[in-house]
Symmetry: C2
Subunit: 208 residues, 2 copies
């Protein structure tokens, strides 16, 4: 029972948070959504905070899994960059509820040290995934700046989605980020060591 209930409660929390657009949801709401009593939620998680932390952990795990899968299918550095972008705007991630949940956790990170840790991990992974492939195509300093810029643009498009005014679609968001990458690759790579694509992986591992 325990693993099933835990999963059900975490999923319920995600749905309720996304729906309500805030972490200020009650244990009762979550428990009701999961079809159990509030007392049971406390029984398994000890506290609301703990349940919330498991929830963000699950969000992060999902994103990582998707990223690993997408990266595995990409053959060139440039293709891997596109894969990272595509995963960020994948329908699952871009669903209004999910966007709202991420946003709520961003806000929560201002107060909860543990929540902040998870978001920092997310930010680092995104940056690192971009950087690993950019470094193959560009000098290190340019690669770092562009990784930073692309990560910011992804987050920005994501956040703006939450306002739901003039909603930029998935495809348009991807195109905008790709444009950025293309334009800056063109600008910044007048003299990388090798202009040719190198389909071989670098020796350094890649954070996922």
């Amino acid at each position: 029972m325990e693993p099933m209930r835990r999963k059900a409660l975490v999923d319920a929390a995600l749905r309720v948070i996304g729906d309500h657009g805030s972490l200020a949801v009650t244990m009762s709401d979550i428990a009701r959504q999961a079809g159990v009593s509030p007392a049971l939620a406390h029984h398994y998680f000890g506290s609301k905070e703990q349940l919330l932390i498991e929830t963000i952990r699950s969000l992060l795990r999902q994103l990582r899994n998707d990223t690993v899968t997408a990266l595995a299918a990409a053959r060139t550095p440039r293709a891997r960059l596109s894969a990272v972008i595509r995963v960020s705007f994948h329908a699952d991630q871009f669903a209004p509820d999910t966007v709202a949940a991420w946003l709520a956790f961003y806000a929560e990170a201002q107060r909860s040290e543990e929540t902040r840790r998870f978001l920092v991990i997310y930010a680092r992974r995104l940056r690192s995934n971009l950087l690993a492939d950019l470094k193959v195509l560009l000098p290190a300093d340019a690669a770092e700046r562009i990784a930073e810029g692309a990560a910011a643009m992804i987050d920005g498009l994501y956040i703006r989605q939450s306002l739901k005014s003039a909603p930029i679609g998935i495809e348009a968001s991807i195109a905008l980020t790709e444009d950025y990458l293309n334009a800056l690759l063109a600008t910044a790579s007048p003299s990388p060591r090798r202009e040719k694509e190198r389909p071989h992986r670098t020796t350094q591992g890649q954070m996922t």
Copy 2:
């Protein structure tokens, strides 16, 4: 007394929200910060929600004033673009408390229709300010895409600031956004009607 108290309470709310990193602050906290009793805060604002709305309104007014000032000093379309960027990352706006407050309001917008309205106004102004000058330099469709991208990058850099991990500084944030603009202006402007700068204002008004 009334105008003074109202201002003191709004300022106090901003500080408390920024400090606490969330809108889940009590009227008591805000009133204490302003040096009055909680009852007085209710007396002047009627409800917590109203005080919060006045608070975001004040944040938005400040940003607009700064933008108007900066735009007035800029002489060319390109300079006005830089002015818009600079204002977004101006020290006042980029202060951790202010960033935290904006983030908290973003999250609140998921639930409060009125808060959302204000943020949509912000998003539209930013987009419109960028678009007005980009349209002078580029064909309309390219201008629109780039305005969207630049706005997203600004918001993204801003949000990422809130995590305070590997904090990108003001200067670096400006540089990153300028790089984006330069790269895309170069890429997208092979054939605008006039390549030359036109220091004259267009006839269309510019939202501020």
